[in-house]
């Protein structure tokens, strides 16, 4: 096994390649998990406080305006810029700005508003009629979300997450810039800077395969969840 790992493919050791794939999966996985939690909360808050939403009153208005502004601002900053700009914040939080774990900070910050928008669109697919029926039954806000909005839109949310994950994979490639490693880093430092074209092509193929797998998995889960929806 060690022998194999020490052999090279397009000028890079197999062990190096595998480590970088692992780093990519690490960054995407954790950023997706944390980003989804934050994104989901943001999306729910946006849906509940929007005009005609369940939560009414001036408080809801303010919350909606603030969140909406935040999501728009973060989404309009290109990831590379965000990555560099928030370095002090990253250092404050993680003690360092280098490595896959440190890269999670900008990744989460970048992906959560994006996921929030995607999930928001999914949640809005729940018809106002269903929410009205829920309220007529005496459901409180949490019950409306738990028993009606989530079951009704989960299939769509999964598709949104699939799209978001692929966006995240793209962003993680740039994390190599701050020493985050990953497949993208391999392509940049070994492929691009050393003009190793075959290696570049190999990394692209790896990324394509990962995207395909994510899309396949997301599509299958979503289809299962929506199996009986008309």
């Amino acid at each position: 096994m060690d022998d194999f790992l020490n052999t090279k493919i397009f000028g890079v050791k197999w062990s190096r390649l595998l480590t970088n794939i692992q780093q990519t999966l690490y960054m995407v996985g954790w950023a997706l998990l944390i980003g989804t939690i934050i994104g989901f909360i943001l999306a729910l808050a946006l849906v509940l406080t929007r005009k005609g939403g369940i939560l009414k009153g001036p408080g809801a208005r303010v919350v909606h305006a603030v969140l909406n502004f935040y999501v728009n601002v973060v989404r309009s900053v290109p990831f590379v810029i965000l990555l560099v700009t928030i370095m002090p914040f990253t250092r404050l939080l993680m003690g360092t700005t280098i490595g896959s774990t440190a890269a999670l900070v900008p990744l989460v910050l970048y992906i959560s508003p994006y996921l929030a928008r995607l999930i928001e669109n999914s949640l809005l697919e729940c018809s106002p009629g269903i929410i009205e029926a829920a309220q007529a039954m005496g459901a409180n806000v949490f019950q409306v979300i738990r028993y009606f909005i989530i079951p009704e839109t989960l299939g769509s949310v999964v598709l949104a997450l699939t799209t978001g994950t692929i966006g995240l994979l793209g962003a993680s490639a740039m994390a190599g810039y701050v020493g985050g490693g990953g497949v993208g880093d391999l392509a940049l430092t070994y492929g691009y800077e050393k003009m190793n074209t075959p290696l570049m092509i190999l990394t692209v193929i790896i990324l394509v395969v990962i995207v395909q797998l994510i899309q396949l998995l997301g599509g299958a889960i979503s289809a299962k969840l929506r199996a009986h929806q008309s």
């Binding site: 018809s127 009629g129 269903i130 009205e132 029926a133 309220q135 007529a136 039954m137 005496g138 459901a139 409180n140 019950q143 028993y147 009606f148 079951p151 009704e152 299939g155 969840l225 929506r226 199996a227 009986h228 929806q229 008309s230």
Partner: protein, 351 residues
């Protein structure tokens, strides 16, 4: 049971003001089926949503079981809403879930045990005659079956009031009739007070005890169904009654009527329920110097009773016809003299 007093509601949108309800008062009694009929935009939807506070009025008070809805706390409102079931035109079910899942939701929200939920869902499903569909997905059901599930869901928490928002408007005539029968059973067998809104006069005719007619945010007429059908006052009410009770002269009779060269008058007679105890038309036929031609007839079942409309051509001297009119009026039948507009071939009531 449900009391609205001087309720008004205005919707404001950019430069637009819609006065959905204007000084509406009505009282729904315990145990009855109360129908509100009106064309779309009349304010019915807003009105019915006041009862479970999905809408709040700008002015006036809404009382349900004596409680002023404006004064309820969050918890009290939740408890009240559990006592008020609601069914919708578009059903508003979770299409991707099973029938059981949908009906179980209100029970799960109340925190009932699994056994209780199982038992109650089976009970209400049997009541709506859909017991064998328990594990079917809603998306596999027909419109009528979906509405039965909607009704079962509304009944699950054993409400005292059922609100029906155009519950049959998305269904074909045959299915409509079966859903109406079911609603009638809900009312009679479970003793649930029903308030419904509809634009179909047939719904009022078949199951309602009392009716209110709405137009432009106001109630223009209200009363027992038989009275309102028998003596509609407002123009909009007459239009609604005409959608289910044909009081026109059949096209083919126009020429027959016109070819009569003796002196005649056209009369419309309405018989409501058992208010008339004598054979009026037979007696008319026996009168001296009077010939009777029946040129239009319609019998409609209503409220477990019926209403019949006859259009008669009374032929004879003026005196004989006047006496016949006096006889009809004292018999209890509702009489109206008609004139025919030969140009447009329509019948209008004489002043």
């Amino acid at each position: 049971m449900i009391q609205l007093e001087h309720v008004s509601r205005t919707f404001r949108e950019k430069n637009m003001e819609v006065r959905a309800l204007q000084d509406v008062s009505l009282h729904v009694r315990e145990g009855e089926i109360f129908g509100i009929v009106g064309f779309s935009g009349a304010g019915k939807s807003t009105l019915i949503r006041l009862v479970n506070r999905l809408e709040t009025p700008d002015g006036g008070t809404v009382r349900v079981k004596g409680q002023d809805l404006a004064a309820l706390t969050g918890r009290e409102l939740t408890n009240l809403r559990r006592k008020i079931g609601m069914v919708f035109q578009q059903f508003n079910l979770l299409e991707g879930k099973t029938v059981f899942h949908n009906i179980a939701i209100p029970l799960r929200m109340e925190g009932r045990s699994r056994e209780e939920i199982e038992r109650r869902v089976s009970e209400v499903l049997d009541f709506v005659e859909l017991g064998e569909k328990k594990d079917a997905y809603v998306s596999q059901l027909s419109g009528g079956q979906k509405q039965r599930v909607g009704i079962a869901r509304a009944l699950a928490t054993a409400p005292e009031i059922l609100l029906c928002d155009e519950a049959t408007s998305a269904l074909d005539p045959q299915t409509t009739e079966s859903i109406l029968k079911l609603l009638k059973r809900v009312n009679r067998e479970m003793g649930i007070t029903i308030m419904l809104i509809t634009h179909q006069m047939q719904v009022i005719q078949l199951i309602c005890d009392r009716v209110a007619v709405m137009e432009d945010g106001k109630i223009v007429e209200e009363g027992n169904v038989l009275d309102v059908f028998g003596r509609p006052q407002a123009e909009v009410t007459k239009r609604f009654v005409r959608t289910v009770i044909n009081d026109q002269v059949p096209e083919t009779f126009y020429d027959t009527i016109r070819s009569e060269n003796r002196h005649y008058r056209l009369e419309q007679l309405k018989f409501i329920g058992d208010t008339v105890n004598e054979p009026v038309i037979a007696n008319l036929c026996r009168r001296e110097g009077l010939d009777v031609n029946i040129v239009g007839a319609n019998i409609s079942p209503m409220q477990g009773s019926m209403m019949s409309v006859f259009i008669l051509q009374l032929i004879g001297e003026t005196d004989a016809i006047n006496e016949a009119e006096a006889y009809i009026d004292q018999s209890g039948a509702i009489r109206k003299r008609l004139t025919i507009d030969w140009e447009n071939r329509t019948v209008t009531e004489s002043a």
